[in-house]
């Protein structure tokens, strides 16, 4: 069975472009959740109170060591039993990937927070800042700047994980490719094109992140 350009260009590509917004929405939604939850987890792990820091570290470790696919299944199939709420694939997907990558981002935040020089913490104390003021105006602005490129890289990693959502029935790029395949009995063109779309988008994004890294460095000097 040879490659069919007519089929590729007239059927596969338009149908894939039709669902590309689903993939992008899932990526951005999960990333937004990961960015917020990651900071919460990072602060939780640093807490002086052991009853906060220990469980947080345990949860982070557990999530980090178990497959996102199984976590997705857990959220999609078990949450209805536990909480009586049935989640749409998109919501379950954003929750699953968002929670999984929040543990990675918490490590990134930790590195950023630890890179803030000690004098800055002391200065905040000397100025009699409240903890909230200290974090909001002194520590976090300095901690987050150097980690922006790293977060960009995790956005790309997260984007490449979104095909998992096909497993819980979300019609994103790969799900759509599979359904084209099951109707036409031609899997070659749809799945190849999905790969190419991922390659183009993730490679472009990685160039953007490199550029961003270069720009941030330049301003810092």
């Amino acid at each position: 069975m040879a490659w069919d350009w007519n089929f590729t260009l007239n059927e596969v590509v338009p149908e894939l472009l039709n669902v590309i917004h689903v993939t992008i929405m899932a990526t951005l939604g999960a990333f937004a959740l990961a960015v917020v939850l990651g900071l919460v987890l990072a602060l939780g792990c640093r807490s002086n109170k052991k009853w906060i820091s220990w469980p947080t570290r345990g949860v982070v470790e557990f999530i980090r060591l178990t497959p996102p696919l199984v976590q997705l299944f857990f959220i999609f199939f078990v949450f209805p039993h536990l909480f009586g709420l049935t989640l749409k694939p998109m919501v379950a997907g954003i929750l699953g990937l968002g929670i999984h990558y929040s543990t990675y981002l918490s490590e990134v935040y930790r590195a950023g927070i630890e890179s803030v020089p000690k004098g800055q913490w002391e200065a905040a104390i000397a100025l009699n800042f409240s903890p909230l003021q200290k974090w909001k105006s002194v520590i976090l602005p300095q901690a987050i700047r150097p980690i922006i490129p790293v977060m960009g890289n995790y956005l790309i990693v997260l984007f490449k994980e979104t095909p998992l959502l096909a497993a819980i029935g979300l019609m994103e790029l790969l799900g759509q490719a599979k359904s084209i395949g099951s109707v036409t009995f031609r899997y070659l063109e749809p799945i190849t094109m999905v790969g190419i779309i991922f390659l183009i988008l993730s490679y472009t994004a990685s160039l953007l992140v490199k550029r961003l890294e270069w720009k941030l460095d330049l301003n810092g000097k």
Binding site: P67, K160, I191, G195
Partner: protein, 218 residues
Amino acid sequence: MIPIDVVSQVLPLLQEGFIVTIQLVIIAGILSFVMSFVGGLARLSRFAPLRWVSGFLIEFFRGTSLLVQLFWFYYALPLLGVTLPTGLVGIVALTLNYGSYGSEIVRSSILAVPKGQAEAGIALNMTRFQRMKSIILPQAFRIMLPSFGNLMIELLKGTALVSLITIQDMTFYITQARNTIGHDTLLFSMLLVAYFIIGYVITLVFRWLERKFSAGRV
């Protein structure tokens, strides 16, 4: 209450799948370790064409998602006349994907060895090969160990994806059992714990390796 009869039904299934998951981790782990060195060294080669080809392949396998690659080898490749056994598809896709990530680890670790070390080798009239073998790689290896530990955890988590192309690993058995037995909460909790245990063992092994290879050094 945990229904004991369900546990006793599920445990043998989990055990069957456990063997397959472990096999995948070990085989694909060793192969991607080897590929990491081949790829990483090729990217640092003196011969430009080798650098370009390896760079392109590594970017290619890193840039397209693992699940897309698995599906491609499983659904699309047979249409081109190449049918691989399903288990091999899993190993090939996992190896190419994680081997490519590993190549970047090897490359960056070699570059992280201070330049003075290579210069000392030159001063001692060592050949390129001798320098790499006796000076650069032993030092680079210690730098890359923690990253390889993380890569193996990623590989373990990646093996769960092979259940979607019908390889009978732990996830496959549990998703099947779900249809016949039910008890979703218990089944998926057991599955998560099983992965956590394997992942934790991998973490401990790499911690031990890191200690072993940094013994006697500051």
